[in-house]
Subunit: 284 residues, 2 copies
């Protein structure tokens, strides 16, 4: 098992589970990488401080910088809330350490599971390639299966903590994981082929849309598109401005674009506002 990562400084997300322990071991073997091990303690399980200590010792063993933070999400936190808090910490740790890019240990099985979960919830375009590598996040294990990762860990005698399964998502993800474990290899391989093709096509579309979108979004675009296409366009426009959003926010912004008084301002979040001009929307 080998991975390739361009020389540079990176934040590595390490939970202490087998995936991230293997990721770290592989990264240490790459040339010219400066790594910061980052651990986020969600504060969901009572014993999570043991994970934190384990990862801290691991960073020490490899002689790497270590950054960690304890959230206080409580045991009923949803997967979405936990994920958002984790990534906020990771990107913040990146800024503080002058390392733009976060590396995560997501692998092939995660990608399949996530795509199927998103599908069952009625996903849009991005939900099908939600674990793709991007500008700010690298996922060098996406080409490997969970079994390959475990084999590597055993062969190299690595120690790890058992992965804590996320609470709210437990039932759905576990059910899908079980289904995929029982599926014949052809089934997984067909799904993967289809997902890869979708990802490639998404990357091309992203490029084209980023090229054609202007900082100001003409209102007439939204008037001429049907509802779903409007949502897709608005989402892409917000991504261009580096603004995070969810489904609900997009729906609200569409209503506002159609009905908002000229000059009025829609507050997306504390540091992102959209102004409704006569002809266009503008981030202010």
């Amino acid at each position: 098992m080998e991975i390739e990562v361009k020389p540079g400084k990176y934040i590595v997300a390490v939970s202490g589970g087998v995936d991230s322990v293997v990721l770290l071991d592989l990264l240490v073997q790459c040339k010219e990488l400066e790594l910061v091990v980052a651990h986020f303690d969600h504060g969901i399980r009572p014993d999570s401080n043991l994970d934190q200590r384990f990862v801290k010792d691991l960073a020490k063993k490899y002689n790497l910088e270590f950054a960690s933070e304890k959230g206080n999400l409580g045991e009923n936190a949803s997967e979405e809330k936990a994920r958002n808090a984790r990534y906020e910490f990771l990107h913040r740790a990146g800024k503080e350490n002058h390392a733009d890019v976060v590396i995560t240990a997501h692998h092939q099985d995660d990608m399949l599971e996530t795509a199927l979960i998103n599908l069952s919830r009625g996903t849009g375009r991005k939900g099908l390639s939600s674990l793709d590598s991007g500008n700010k996040i690298l996922r060098p294990l996406l080409g490997f299966t969970k079994n390959q990762i475990i084999d590597y860990a055993k062969k190299k005698n690595l120690q790890w903590r058992e992965d804590s399964t996320n609470q709210s998502d437990k039932y759905m993800r576990n059910r899908i994981r079980k289904k995929l474990a029982e599926a014949d290899p052809q089934h997984k391989s067909d799904l993967l082929d289809l997902l890869h093709a979708t990802k490639h096509s998404n990357r091309e579309i992203d490029q084209i849309l980023q090229l054609m979108l202007r900082p100001e979004l003409p209102k007439k675009y939204l008037l001429e598109l049907d509802h779903n296409a409007s949502k897709e366009l608005l989402a892409q426009w917000l991504r261009m401005h580096g603004i995070q959003f969810d489904k609900q926010l997009i729906e609200q912004l569409i209503v506002k674009a159609h009905t908002g008084r000229v000059g009025s301002v829609f507050v997306l979040k504390k540091d992102a506002k959209v102004q409704i001009d006569k002809q266009c929307l503008r981030v202010v």
Copy 2:
């Protein structure tokens, strides 16, 4: 089994196989449809005139107009060649009969097979939704399986001719058909879910791109995009102009856009030319 088709005049593609025989029987039950039965004899098999006679009689039985044409493709014709000749005839018959839209009998299994064939050949975005209904082609059976179609035909005591399998594609399509027939239902259902999500997202993207594309394509767009994204953009631009193309033509046009002398003209086909201007490409 029931289908819904908006009132209007349509060309129905009928090969004489069970799929199109069932399609026709279902269409005849819809209200306010004016139907023209169209049969294309590819001239690939020696006994294809028997199919033609069968479909002619079927049209007579339903008291419908009938249009047919005999191609002369020969027994080694590729699936692509046969398909192009068939659709050219169908659209021509549409024009002659003042019926813009063609209805075909493609069903769920066809859609899955075609997507998997395209995938194995390295498809782009459109290959994943290649049998989607569009402006000019309706496929009201896409929601039904082959088994449902056969059950319907038997229940209604319909007569049909055995489908002739296409020559060049025989091995690949047969292999994929066999694989799908043996797959567990979950496998097919996962693939279908993924394909449907991809189709929906493709429709939104099509709308957005059609809205943002101008009749003239700025050259700088092609210079700023990577190769695959350039191909996607050019394809969408040619579609906007109603110009048919294949992969090879797109590649040639990209080279021409980068290297062609200002004012030079690239002949796509006899009635479609692209002129290379200083700043843009223009269909002339």
